[in-house]
């Protein structure tokens, strides 16, 4: 009640200010008049009574001020008048205001955007209960993570005690038929405990049960919210409904919550039990249960530590039990790689993200330095103003409050604009983000990051803004007033020079990083992929349906049906107008085809029995070499004569042929690829190496086989179509040609080879774009800082310059004087920055390609650029100094 009265009275007096003021005045005047009247009543004359009253009551103006200033609303009035003054100040100096606000906005906005993008991937806990207790478990191949087999999973799950539950999962891409066009869904085939490990249950229906995850168990699926909305329009009656996948009927038993995010594979829309045949495990090492194609995760038991679990798993890996026989490729001799789920999903992008985060912090630092610099420059100019205000009776406190208000207003403007920059930045980052960046959907402008960046710049602004006020005190007024006209060099000159040197140094670090990345990119783009990516259309065709099943009565019928379908589809594609050449392959270079699926052991006749290589197996159609423009170096490519009944032929990549048969002709040599119990493949030709996973990687061991002669028919093949005109434009016609053979086969990942090549380098490109942007911002800020310092120094030295000119210095002399000053600062910054860059470039090593982090060309180029920009920034102040008219300057004193 009392509070409310305080508020309403204050508000009323705030709105009817003049009424309140005149009331107060009246009351004070009446008090005075009564006092006078009282003195008169005692017999004084009117004059004497007034004097006596004044003596008694003191300064009535002060009393009036005291009465007027009562109430909270007066604080608001002071702030409002401070704000008004600050706004006028900022408006009066648009150059200073615009540069400061833009600097703050860029610093705050860029660092908020980057942190917002990095936070969900690297720092924020995953969206699962106790997410830190979820670990991933990998097999080790050549020191790196590799998939493991169901047999390994079963052994680990049964022997380990540290986990509450463990799960395996793998890619499952069923064809959804029955709709308008056949479509391929992105799914995961998982063990029944999958959602328990993640700690999330379906929002509708139920989770998988162990009884469903058995060989030939019931066909059930759980849908993502996304797919549920798309296929069933969010109908809650979906439970028990059936959908047709790969010609089989599956029953929907659950729907995951809208908020559920499958960080293991964010595009996953559907889950089904893996249903491995556990009886096979001990009987047959060649079956699906021992294929290394599963990923594995586990949830720690409460109380069990990660270290304990890692130790236990290592111990299990190193001590096989007779109950759990292991084949050679699942021997676990190299141990297991165990990591937290969070670190696991981020491990491929972490170096890039940390580099970007480091870069943006440098930008933020430069922005802060620049703001400090600008404020110092401004305070040097305003020293006179404050001296005058102090002389006119403004208290030190009042001046300080004024300065804080100005700084805060500036920071507020910068912050609001920075928020806009952050919003735009986050959208741009999402648009630019390379495929494979985890948790992209979780990226939003991070309030904490914004608050942090905003607070840092604000505090720096306020503190710096206060420095001039600390110098103002009444004693100093006179000398300051005198100084303000004379403009002797300010005391902050050294600080400001140091700041500019730092800015130049930091900008150099960023520019060197950007330069190294750009250089790497140029080298990478110049890498020959081993084939011609232009005018090349690619698409993946998946075969699905019961017509491709092997009948128990006649094994091989399914494979034959598949081969027939692909042959017919290829014939149809070759008829399409505009197609020059067409072929297909089981493994498409520079695509996202998981290369480990196509990695097989090879064994040449001349190898010793324990030897052999891992090779990429390409099952190709006739005409593949021509369609891809892969050069045939000797022998021939796979052609129409390589059929199921002719002797099996193979092509080797150049490097494999050379390392296997140095100085010999490899044609006619024999090898096994995959199973060793099959007829030998005879080398029929040698072709050029191709880049498979990335332009940056050399993976030279390739073996090409005919799809007609491999030991199984691939379910999914990629068509490569060399076109006469625009490759992308031909896509619809080619798809229709394939569907003219069978309307129920999904066609996915339709893309030109140029696009695929760009996508493989997307992460590098992403980092490059960011570093270029930051480098340019840093360069601009450093230039502004340099300009500010020199302009300030010229203004302060006007008198000195005038004297020099009067004593006969030519314009050229003075120009050189100022330029030399600026260049000295630049040179110092460059020296310090180069040393820093040499250290900082360590962080980039994993992102570089083909050049050293100490590439002197890059350093020299960046130094030249920085020097040129600094020279431009110095030119205007130097020019202004050169035009100082000595007679005017000297007379002005």
């Amino acid at each position: 009640m009392a509070l409310w009265r305080q508020f309403s009275y204050g508000l009323r007096s705030l709105i009817h200010r003049s009424v309140k003021d005149s009331d107060d005045d009246d009351e004070v005047r009446q008090y005075f008049e009564e006092t006078v009247a009282a003195w008169q009543a005692r017999g004084l004359t009117a004059e004497d009574a007034k004097r006596a009253a004044r003596l008694e009551l003191g300064n009535m103006t002060a009393v009036r001020e005291q009465v007027r200033s009562y109430g909270w609303e007066n604080a608001i009035r002071t702030i409002a008048s401070d704000l008004g003054y600050a706004a006028r100040q900022l408006r009066g100096h648009p150059g200073f205001t615009i540069v400061s606000v833009l600097t703050l906005a860029l610093g705050v906005g860029a660092s908020t955007a980057i942190f917002s993008a990095v936070d969900p991937i690297l720092f924020r806990p995953l969206p699962y209960p106790d997410a830190s207790r979820i670990l991933t478990i990998w097999n080790t191949y050549q020191g790196a993570r590799s998939e493991l087999s169901f047999g390994t999973y079963r052994e680990l799950a049964q022997r380990s005690r540290s986990f509450e539950s463990m799960t395996i999962f793998e890619l499952w891409q069923p064809a959804l038929t029955g709709g308008e066009l056949p479509e391929r869904l992105e799914g995961q085939s998982v063990s029944a405990s999958f959602f328990q490990v993640l700690g999330v249950a379906p929002v509708l229906g139920r989770d998988f049960q162990p009884s469903e995850d058995v060989f030939n168990g019931p066909r059930v699926v759980i849908l993502s919210d996304r797919l549920w909305q798309r296929l069933f329009h969010g109908d809650p009656g979906v439970l028990g409904r059936s959908i047709k996948l790969d010609d089989n009927t599956f029953t929907v038993i659950g729907v995951m919550p809208h908020s559920f995010e499958d960080v293991l594979s964010s595009s996953t829309d559907i889950w089904t039990p893996a249903q491995y045949d556990t009886r096979q495990i001990t009987r047959d090492f060649t079956g699906a249960t021992w294929g290394n194609h599963l990923r594995m995760a586990g949830r720690l038991r409460p109380g069990a530590s990660r270290a304990q679990a890692i130790e236990e798993l290592a111990q299990i890996a190193s001590t096989p039990w007779p109950d759990f026989p292991r084949p050679r490729w699942a021997s676990l001799k190299r141990g297991l790689i165990v990591d937290s789920l969070q670190d696991d999903i981020a491990h491929t992008v972490r170096p890039a993200l940390l580099a970007v985060l480091g870069a943006v912090l440098l930008v933020l630092t430069i922005a802060c330095l620049n703001v400090v610099n600008l404020l110092l420059a401004r305070s040097a100019q305003r020293r006179g103003e404050f001296a005058v205000r102090a002389a006119l009776g403004a208290s030190k406190q009042r001046i300080v409050r004024q300065l804080i208000t100005e700084s805060l207003l500036l920071a507020l403007l910068g912050g609001v604009l920075g928020l806009a920059v952050a919003g735009a930045g986050v959208r741009a980052l999402i648009a630019l983000s390379p495929p494979g960046l985890p948790r992209v959907d979780a990226i939003t402008v991070d309030a904490m990051a914004f608050a942090f960046a905003f607070a840092v710049t604000t505090i720096i602004g306020v503190v710096t803004g206060l420095i001039p006020a600390l110098h103002v005190s009444r004693e100093e007024v006179r000398p300051r007033l005198e100084q303000s006209s004379r403009r002797t060099a300010g005391g902050h000159a050294f600080t400001r020079r140091a700041l500019v040197v730092t800015e130049v140094a930091l900008a150099l670090v960023l520019l060197v990083a950007a330069g190294l990345l750009l250089h790497s990119m140029l080298r990478l783009v110049a890498v020959d992929p081993g084939f011609d990516p232009s005018h090349l259309l690619t698409m993946q065709v998946q075969t699905s349906g019961h017509q491709f099943d092997d009948l128990p009565s006649s094994p091989g019928t399914g494979d034959n049906a598949r081969r027939r379908f692909f042959r017919q589809a290829l014939d149809a594609v070759r008829q399409v107008h505009g197609v020059e050449q067409a072929a297909f392959t089981s493994l498409l270079p520079l695509s996202d085809d998981p290369s480990w699926i196509s990695t097989y052991g090879s064994h040449f006749e001349n190898d010793d029995p324990q030897g052999g290589h891992n090779v990429f197996r390409y099952a190709i159609s006739p005409g593949y070499c021509a369609a891809m423009s892969i050069p045939v170096l000797s022998g021939r490519c796979i052609d129409e004569h390589d059929t199921a009944t002719s002797p099996p032929a193979a092509l080797l990549s150049e490097s494999l042929a050379r390392s296997q048969f140095p100085g010999q002709n490899p044609i006619g040599k024999r090898l096994h690829v995959g199973p060793a119990d099959r007829p030998w493949f005879t080398v029929a030709g040698v072709v050029g190496d191709v880049k498979q996973t990335s332009l940056a990687l050399n993976e030279p061991n390739d073996v090409y086989l005919s799809t007609e002669q491999t030991w199984f028919a691939d379910q999914t093949l990629s068509f490569v179509i060399r076109t006469r005109g625009d490759a992308a434009a031909l896509a619809p016609a080619v798809k229709n040609a394939i569907w003219s053979v069978d309307r129920n086969q999904p066609i996915v990942r339709v893309a030109t080879m140029d696009t695929l090549v760009a996508v493989t380098e997307a992460q590098r490109n992403f980092v490059l774009i960011l570093f270029e942007a930051f480098g340019l911002v840093a360069l601009a800020l450093a230039a502004v800082g340099m300009y500010g310092v020199l302009a300030g120094s010229v203004a302060e030295r006007t008198r000195e310059i005038g004297v020099r000119a009067a004593l006969g210095a030519s314009r050229g002399n003075i120009l050189a004087l100022i330029l030399r000053d600026g260049m000295r600062l630049t040179a110092l910054g460059i020296i310090i920055g180069s040393c820093a860059a040499v250290f900082a470039s360590h962080a980039l090593v994993t992102l570089l390609y083909g050049i050293s982090r100490l590439d002197w060309m890059t350093y020299l180029g960046v130094i030249a650029l920085l020097t040129a920009v600094a020279a431009i920034a110095c030119w205007t102040p130097a020019w202004r100094a050169a035009r100082v008219d000595p007679s005017i300057t000297l007379r002005a004193e």
């Binding site: 009265r5 004070v28 009446q30 009564e34 009393v63 009465v67 009562y70 109430g71």
Partner: protein, 111 residues
Amino acid sequence: MTDLNTDVIQGTLDMLILKTLSLEPLHGFGIGRRVEQISRGVFKVNPGSLLTALQRLERAGWLDSEWRQTENARRAKFYRLTRTGKRQLEIETADWTRRASAIQRLLRQEG
């Protein structure tokens, strides 16, 4: 001339105002004069403090005010005690009595 301290004891101004107004509505000068007279000149009220205190007490809801003519035909702002003001006066009086008697006891005790 000896400088006797005529400042109002800190924290008691509100109580003195409330007490003065409990007798009859008065304007600022009247309150000041009344405090001075009744205290026989021991306390002199500073007009700045008094007028600010009046604003404060009014906002606290203990006083009402209205502009009226005084007997010598001046326009003045008269303050009147409200019901809550009366209650507040009782609280403050009791509190003061309790504390003042404690101080008296302390001062009277034999050294």
